[in-house]
């Protein structure tokens, strides 16, 4: 097993019989967890967690008209379950440490790109120990290959997968502290309590954690039996708490990877091809010597798909990249455009199984255009390589894979790479891939010097990974008052999956019904659900690999399939002459979901009178153990659609949005609500404005004024996010991607009702005349203007 960094603080080893407030059920659960062989534990917990009692909030709703649909995999086993199972064997390697200064620390084996998981895990640990979350320091762990699958951030799984293991580790730490204090005070451990960062006895005598931590250390590793704090006693979990780095954010002190000052790691950028995945022809650029002599330039070298420039400043990198005269080979999709891609997907669409019945059948067909996967912080990494050892600093969601890739590119063993996970400036799926780490390793090797490698925005848009184009088809066959069959087909450009996630899914394949599915099919099977009683229910996908650079972008299959389903449901309700909200509450499968729908209808005043050209729209989604419903008010009147914004995309606007989510066990209301807000703004963009145009071998969009993610002039002026605090669901649901699908589908439904038009593609404004002049592809980076002082305000 490769070495990883040893902590500088005292390690608390497990001791026997610790914890308070034990109950027989909980006790059995965590005793089993800690001492049994991992595979047996997985099986035992699986059985317990997948059988929901009739009284459970997931139990099916009986309905006279609805024809029950058989269970689908995600109803009992979702991606987050799969990932949690993959993590179980290594959870015992996670340690909560008590430091000599009395603080508690935990190196979280996940990546925080704004989700706020460092804050929520500090809360979880503080809750279990009984101390102040401000004194729990949660950092991001360096790559630890011994964790195997347990250091991957994706699929909104972080809290769900680590909630219990981290509580167990915290409970063990607390037990050891109490044990040590009991010995020091000569008291029975059961009479002691934690107050602040101290252990206190009944007379008020206190000993600080810092004084106890050495005494609490155990010379040998022992099995432990811990009982976790019952939910009714929670004081920290469920209370709103600011993100732990908020002060650093507002003062500019928060350090992202490109803000780090690593000795001699000079700015490095890459000159990339005009075509998607084009690459240089053999031989040097004709003017390479001239470019090497440009101001600030320290080196020019061939790597991967382009030429790397290392310079004193990034500005000088940009100038040198643009000056290079490179002969390029064609890319992977030379000469191809969106229409070619759609044609190829249509040919690959899987057939619908239930025959269409005249007069009883509704069919629907959508094209969902590609979406940009860029975060605001472009792809980046620092690599320093000296004397056969390397150090990497990067925002990475799959750092064990990143470490391996860097080692391969540098030609050194994986354990010769120290990989530091740096908080990212957004991810949305991008940082699951280690593209920039691979390039930085190549560049560090080529130059023989440390590099601070950053992608330019234009190429982050054009050559970076995208949520790929797909089609959805739905066919529903109706009876007089119900749905006899509901079939969903997704056909997409191949959604690439990082090596780390591939390993997770591969390790779990056997658990998915149907047996040995491929990686994408597995993800599909355990994430896509039709949560209504619609009789015969089928959902299949097919993907075609075409040479795009792809990856999930704030959700994988959810937003597009949800939109296809929810728009179809509005059509079915119309055909059956039912109100779309009432129809959903009648046909939804679970009581938990019905409660969310009824609440959103009430909060949004569903069915209220709306002006012509405006309408309400509903969307419902269930994923990551969360249940969400959204109602928008959408304004498609000309005065709104044509409101003037310089170089901005306007169009119809969501003027009011109401969102209700049942988050399961709620850890941090502030953070959960923030994630919903982000997802909502993604969903609105996905529905209306945010799509990519692939034309003649490359994407046209090269900046945020080409790719229309939501801006202030698009976001709803009125937004009401209600996070239910009394969920009966026992575990914390995912948050990061959860909000997108319901908001996207509600917006499309609102547009459909406001305009009376049938949507056939998303984003809905995709085929408007291109409102921008595309930046050239040569030179590859749009030069920086010089006139900002003319636009002071």
């Amino acid at each position: 097993m490769p070495a990883h960094r040893a902590g500088t603080t005292t390690q608390l080893d497990p001791v026997e019989k610790s914890g308070t407030g034990r109950s027989p059920v909980n006790r059995r659960r965590f005793l089993g967890y800690l001492i049994a062989a991992p595979t047996l534990v997985v099986a035992a917990e699986m059985a317990r967690e997948t059988v929901w009692p009739e009284s459970s909030p997931w139990a099916s709703v009986a309905n006279a008209a609805a024809l029950p649909s058989p269970p689908q995999t995600p109803e009992y086993y979702e991606f987050v379950d799969s990932y949690r199972d993959a993590c179980r064997p290594t959870n015992a390697l996670l340690k909560v440490e008590v430091n000599k200064d009395g603080t508690v620390s935990f190196a979280l084996p996940r990546s925080d790109n704004g989700q706020g998981i460092q804050t929520s895990f500090a809360m979880i640990i503080a809750e279990e120990i009984g101390c102040d979350p401000a004194n729990v320091k949660v950092t991001l762990a360096d790559a630890r290959p011994e964790l195997l699958f347990n250091q991957l951030t994706g699929g909104s799984s972080s809290t769900y997968s680590l909630y219990t293991p981290v509580r167990v580790a915290a409970a063990i730490a607390k037990g050891a502290l109490l044990e040590a204090a009991a010995q020091q005070l000569g008291q029975d451990k059961r009479t002691l309590t934690v107050a602040g960062q101290t252990v206190v006895d009944t007379t008020g005598k206190a000993i600080g954690f810092g004084d106890l931590t050495t005494l609490a250390a155990s010379p040998v590793t022992k099995a432990v039996d811990v009982v976790l704090k019952p939910r009714e006693q929670f004081k920290v979990i469920g209370k709103p708490r600011n993100k732990d780095d908020q002060y650093a954010i507002v003062t500019g002190q928060k350090k992202f990877a490109m803000d780090l000052q690593i000795p001699d790691a000079l700015p490095t950028m890459i000159c990339r091809a005009p075509d998607l995945n084009g690459f240089p022809k053999k031989g040097d650029p004709s003017n390479i010597d001239e470019v090497r002599n440009m101001p600030g330039v320290e080196g020019v070298a061939r790597i991967g798909n382009g030429w790397a420039v290392r310079a004193r400043t990034f500005g000088q990198c940009i100038d040198a990249v643009n000056a290079l005269q490179v002969n390029w080979n064609a890319g992977t999709l030379a000469g191809k455009s969106d229409a070619d891609v759609v044609k190829q997907l249509r040919a690959a669409e899987l057939p619908l199984a239930v025959p269409a019945v005249p007069g009883k059948t509704i069919e629907q067909d959508f094209v969902h255009y590609s979406r940009n996967g860029s975060a605001l912080e472009t792809n980046c990494a620092i690599v320093s390589f000296k004397n056969g050892k390397a150090e990497v600093w990067a925002p990475a969601k799959s750092p064990i894979s990143g470490q391996k890739i860097a080692a391969q590119k540098l030609g050194i063993p994986q354990n010769a790479v120290d990989f530091h996970v740096i908080p990212g400036g957004g991810s949305f799926g991008r940082r699951l891939f280690n593209d920039s780490i691979q390039e930085a390793a190549e560049a560090a090797k080529a130059f023989g010097k440390p590099v601070k490698l950053m992608w330019d925005r234009a190429n982050d848009c054009r050559q970076g990974r995208v949520k790929p184009l797909c089609t959805t088809r739905v066919r529903a066959v109706l009876t007089d008052d119900a749905v006899a069959s509901f079939e969903l087909r997704y056909t997409g450009v191949g959604m690439e999956v990082d090596e780390g996630l591939t390993d997770v899914l591969t390790s779990q394949l056997i658990k998915a019904p149907g047996g040995n599915l491929g990686v994408s099919e597995t993800f599909w099977e355990i994430s896509v659900l039709t949560p209504y009683n619609f009789g015969v229910n089928t959902r299949f996908m097919n993907e075609v690999n075409m040479g795009f650079n792809t990856g999930s972008t704030r959700n994988v299959y959810g937003p597009d399939t949800c939109t296809a389903r929810e728009v179809m449901i509005d059509k079915i309700a119309e055909r059956l002459k039912k109100d779309p909200m009432k129809f959903r509450t009648e046909f939804i499968k679970t009581e938990r979901a019905r409660r969310v729908l009824e609440r959103v209808a009430k909060e949004a005043d569903w069915g209220k009178s709306m002006e012509p050209g405006t309408a309400q729209g509903i969307g419902f989604h269930q994923e990551y153990k969360a249940v969400m419903a959204c109602i928008v008010e959408l304004d498609a009147r000309p005065e709104t659609v044509n409101r003037p914004i310089v170089k901005g995309k306007t169009g119809p606007r969501v003027t009011k949005l109401t969102f209700v989510v049942d988050p399961g066990l709620l850890i941090n209301p502030n953070g959960y609500k923030a994630q919903m807000m982000g997802g909502i703004n993604d969903g609105i963009a996905n529905a209306l404005t945010a799509g990519l145009h692939f034309d003649n071998g490359h994407f046209l969009e090269a900046s945020w004024d080409n790719y229309y993610y939501t801006r202030q002039w698009n976001t709803p002026p009125e937004i009401n996010i209600i996070v239910l605090e009394d969920s009966e669901s026992p575990e914390p649901a995912g948050a990061g991607e959860a909000g997108v699908a319901a908001a996207m589908s509600a917006t499309v439904n609102g547009w459909r009702r406001a305009t009376g038009q049938e949507p056939t593609y998303t984003p809905l404004l995709h085929k408007d005349p291109l409102p921008f002049e595309p930046y050239p592809t040569i030179p590859p980076i749009p030069p920086s203007p010089t006139n900002s002082l003319e636009f002071l305000y």
Binding site: G114, V250, P267, G296, Q316, L376, G425, I719, S788, L792
Partner: protein, 159 residues
């Protein structure tokens, strides 16, 4: 290479670099002041928004030679010092109150833009309302726009 001199967060700085290097890189790469962020380099995303003599501008799109020795450049790091007392600027306090930041990458620029927009509205006798806020072009890919709105309106009360 010529010496470039200007005031950065209250201190006079001199850097030896070429005239056409954009100010963002002088500040970040040569002076190590990293609050202003790169998000596009073409004055679109506004992540580098800072103040030039108290007004919002984007250093990615200004050549360093165009900044005069007496010009005051303020980045997020220097914002708190522009108000009296030891605390933060009221807009920073408002950002904390509404727990605005998610990844935080755009927020230095958002705060600098918000302060300038409020000052502009005050100078013009306009209300800091939704339409004023919608003139702010700063991109937030996390989608924190709605909390930004609340924070700007709150921060404006104390400016």
């Amino acid at each position: 290479m010529p010496d470039q001199t200007f005031k950065l967060n209250g201190k006079t700085v001199t850097v030896d670099t070429d005239d056409d290097v954009r100010l963002l890189w002088v500040i970040r790469d040569l002076l190590g002041v990293t609050g202003p962020k790169y998000g596009c380099g073409i004055n679109v995303c506004k992540a580098c928004t800072s103040h030039y003599n108290g007004k919002a501008f984007n250093p990615c799109s200004v050549q360093v030679k165009d900044i005069k020795p007496e010009d005051e450049i303020t980045t997020i790091e220097g914002l708190a010092d522009t108000v009296e007392g030891d605390g933060l600027h009221p807009m920073q306090d408002a950002w904390l109150k509404y727990d605005v930041g998610q990844c935080g990458y755009c927020q230095p620029g958002q705060i600098m833009a918000a302060v300038a927009k409020v000052r502009q509205c005050q100078a013009e006798g306009r209300e800091v309302d939704d339409s004023a806020i919608e003139e702010i072009r700063n991109m937030c890919r996390c989608g924190t726009y709605n909390r930004i709105r609340e924070a700007i309106k709150d921060g404006a009360q104390n400016m």
